[in-house]
C-alpha cells in the first residue's frame, strides 16, 4: 500500500524528469549523461525537500521560542515587582 506522504512525490517526479530534455542540444548523450540529467531533475525536488526540512526546523524553533517567551511573560511569578 502506498503511503499517503508518497503520493505527491510519485506524481510530481515524472513530470519534472521530462523538463530537462527540452534544453538546447550540444553534446552526444550516453547513459552517463542521461544520469546527470535525471539527477538534476530529481535534485530540484529533493533539494526543495531538504530546504523545507531545514527551514521547518528553524520555523519550529522560532515558534517554540516565541511561545515559551509569551508563556514566561504571562506567568505571575515572572511579573516585575
Amino acid at each position: 500500500m502506498m503511503k499517503r506522504s508518497m503520493l505527491p512525490k510519485t506524481l510530481i517526479m515524472p513530470a519534472l524528469l521530462y523538463l530537462p530534455f527540452h534544453q538546447v542540444v550540444h553534446a552526444y548523450v550516453d547513459g552517463g549523461t542521461i544520469s546527470l540529467v535525471i539527477q538534476s531533475a530529481i535534485g530540484v525536488f529533493v533539494g526543495a525537500l531538504v530546504a523545507i526540512g531545514l527551514y521547518w526546523k528553524r520555523i519550529k524553533a522560532s515558534v517554540k521560542n516565541l511561545l515559551s517567551r509569551s508563556k514566561k511573560s504571562g506567568e505571575p511569578g515572572e511579573e516585575p515587582h
Binding site: P20, Q23, G43, G47
Partner: protein, 464 residues
C-alpha cells in the same frame, strides 16, 4: 630507495589516469600521478582523509620514498594498509552489500563537508576489513564544484541500489547479476525485473525506474550538459534519498536449503560437541596463519578458528547462511571472520578485461588450512566428482586439511541418494583414504562419537 618494476602492476588498475596499484617485494603500493596532484593534496590537507580514517571508513596509508613505477607521470607513492583478503560484491550477502552501500554514501556525505566528492562509486572500491566495509581507493575523490551533478550517481545506482532492490524485492540470488555485469546491474534491466509495487517507492521509482527508462529512451538525444546544474541542497537531497531508500531495503534470510541446516541434522548434541572439540584440537596442531572454511553454513565451525585469532574466510553456497553468518559477525563485533558466498562446484572465475580484472577464487589462495566439514558427500554425490578430483582441488587450495568423511550409511547421504540412482560404488572410506593419501599425509583420524563420521587431519605432501 627500492627500485620497483612495472611487472607488478595490479591487473585491475588501468582505467583511472590518476594512478595505479602495484606490488613490490611482497608489499602493495599505489602510485599517484601528477594529474591527480591537486585532488590528492586537497584530500590530505583538507582533513577529509584523516576524518575518514578516524571513522574507519577508508584504509590508512603512508607516503613512502619508493622509486616510482612510472616516474615520468609520478607525483607520489603511498603504501596503503594491506587488505587481508580481497572479496567481490557478487560474493557478498545482502547485508554486506547494503553495508558497503551505506558506507559509500557516508563517505560521499563526509566528502561534501570538506569540499570534495566521489568521482567513482564502484562497489569494488569497498573491502571488508576486520568485519567492516572500508573504502580502499584513495584516488576516487575530486574537488566539489558548486552546482555540478554527481558524476558517480549512475555507478552508485548500478553497483548498489539496483542489486539490493532486486535481492530485497525479487530474489536474493539476483545479486549474482553483478558477476555478469562488471559495471553494475543495468538500470533498464533492474526496472524490468523489479515488481510493479516498487513504483510506489519514491527512491526506486526515481533512481531506478525513471532513471533506467530515461537511459533507454533518450540514448540518442542531444543535450547541453553544461547547462545541467545540481545545487548543494539537491546533492544532499539525492544522497539522503539514496540513503533512506537503501536503509528501507530488507531481506529476511530464512527458509532456504541450508539456512536451517543445524536444526535439521542427524547429530546428537553430544556428537556435535565432540566434533567441535576434535576440530579445535586439529586446529591447535596445525598452527594455521589463516583458514578457509568451505561449506561453512552459518559459520559455527569457522568461529572455532576465528575465536583463536586466526583470520578465517567462511564460504557457503547459500545466501541465507552467509547472511546469517554476517549478521552474527556484526552482532558479536567479530574482526577475524569474513563470510562469503561461493559455489565450490563453480567458484568465482577471473572476470573483466582479459579475465584478469577480478581474480578467480583460486588466484586468491591458497589458504594455510582448509576446513571441509560435512562437505565431501555433497561434492562426490550431488556433483558426481570423483575423490581423486576432490583431493586434487584441496591440494591446490591448502597446506593443511581438516576433512570429514560421511559414510553412505549416514542419513544425510541417504537423503542425497533418495532422489538419484546409487552409481557411487567407489564412495567408501577406503577409496577416500586411498585417493587422498596420494596427495596428502593422513596425520590423524578420529571418529565422531555417536555418529559414523570420521574427521581427518591431513598435510599436503611436499611433492604436490
Amino acid at each position: 630507495v627500492k627500485s620497483p618494476t612495472n611487472s607488478g602492476i595490479v591487473a585491475s588498475s588501468f582505467r583511472d589516469p590518476s594512478g595505479f596499484v602495484f606490488w613490490q617485494d611482497g608489499a602493495i603500493y599505489r602510485q599517484i600521478n601528477t594529474i591527480y596532484k591537486e585532488d590528492y593534496d586537497r584530500l590530505m590537507t583538507s582533513g577529509l582523509h584523516k576524518a575518514l580514517v578516524e571513522e574507519g571508513l577508508i584504509v590508512s596509508h603512508e607516503e613512502v620514498a619508493l622509486q616510482s613505477a612510472a616516474p615520468q607521470v609520478a607525483y607520489k607513492v603511498i603504501r596503503p594498509d594491506r587488505v587481508p583478503f580481497i572479496s567481490y560484491p557478487y560474493e557478498w550477502s545482502f547485508s554486506q552489500l547494503k553495508g558497503a552501500a551505506l558506507a559509500t554514501l557516508r563517505i560521499q556525505r563526509k566528502a561534501l563537508d570538506f569540499g570534495m566528492s566521489l568521482k567513482d562509486c564502484s562497489a569494488y572500491n569497498i573491502q571488508f576489513i576486520k568485519g567492516k566495509p572500508v573504502f580502499i581507493d584513495t584516488l576516487s575523490f575530486e574537488k566539489y564544484q558548486e552546482g555540478s551533478p554527481w558524476v558517480a550517481y549512475r555507478q552508485f545506482c548500478q553497483h548498489f541500489l539496483a542489486p539490493l532492490a532486486l535481492m530485497s524485492h525479487r530474489d536474493s540470488r539476483l545479486g549474482q547479476l553483478l558477476r555478469i555485469h562488471l559495471d553494475g546491474v543495468p538500470l533498464d534491466l533492474a526496472s524490468k525485473l523489479l515488481p510493479r509495487r516498487t513504483h510506489f517507492s519514491f527512491c526506486l521509482l526515481t533512481h531506478i525506474h525513471l532513471h533506467g527508462r530515461a537511459q533507454a529512451r533518450y540514448s540518442d538525444t542531444r543535450i547541453d550538459t553544461k547547462r545541467l546544474r545540481l545545487t548543494r541542497l539537491g546533492f544532499i537531497g539525492i544522497i539522503s534519498s539514496l540513503e533512506s531508500g537503501v536503509k528501507r531495503l530488507k531481506w529476511n534470510p530464512g527458509g532456504t536449503e541450508w539456512g536451517d541446516y543445524y536444526q535439521d541434522t542427524n547429530y546428537s548434541a553430544e556428537a556435535f560437541q565432540h566434533k567441535k572439540q576434535i576440530v579445535a584440537e586439529f586446529l591447535e596442531a596445525i598452527h594455521a596463519s589463516n583458514v578457509w572454511d568451505l561449506g561453512a553454513n552459518t559459520g559455527i565451525f569457522s568461529r572455532i578458528a576465528s575465536d583463536k585469532g586466526i583470520p578465517t574466510i567462511s564460504f557457503d553456497i547459500d545466501p541465507a547462511a552467509v547472511e546469517k553468518n554476517y549478521l552474527e559477525c556484526r552482532r558479536r563485533g567479530e574482526t577475524n571472520i569474513l563470510p562469503l558466498l561461493s559455489d565450490l562446484t563453480n567458484p568465482s572465475p577471473g572476470i573483466g578485461w582479459q579475465n584478469k580484472e577480478r581474480m578467480s577464487l583460486a588466484e586468491r589462495g591458497p589458504a594455510d588450512a582448509v576446513l571441509a566439514l560435512a562437505l565431501i558427500h555433497h561434492l562426490s554425490i550431488s556433483n558426481n566428482t570423483p575423490f581423486a578430483k576432490i583431493a586434487d582441488f584441496f591440494a591446490s587450495t591448502c597446506e593443511s586439511l581438516v576433512v570429514e568423511f560421511v559414510p553412505k550409511s549416514d542419513s544425510q547421504v541417504q537423503r542425497l541418494l533418495a532422489t538419484r540412482e546409487d552409481i557411487f560404488v567407489d564412495y567408501t572410506q577406503q577409496a577416500f583414504e586411498s585417493e587422498f593419501a596420494k596427495l596428502f599425509v593422513l596425520e590423524r583420524s578420529q571418529p565422531i562419537t555417536g555418529s559414523e563420521r570420521i574427521l581427518y587431519l591431513m598435510r599436503r605432501r611436499e611433492s604436490t
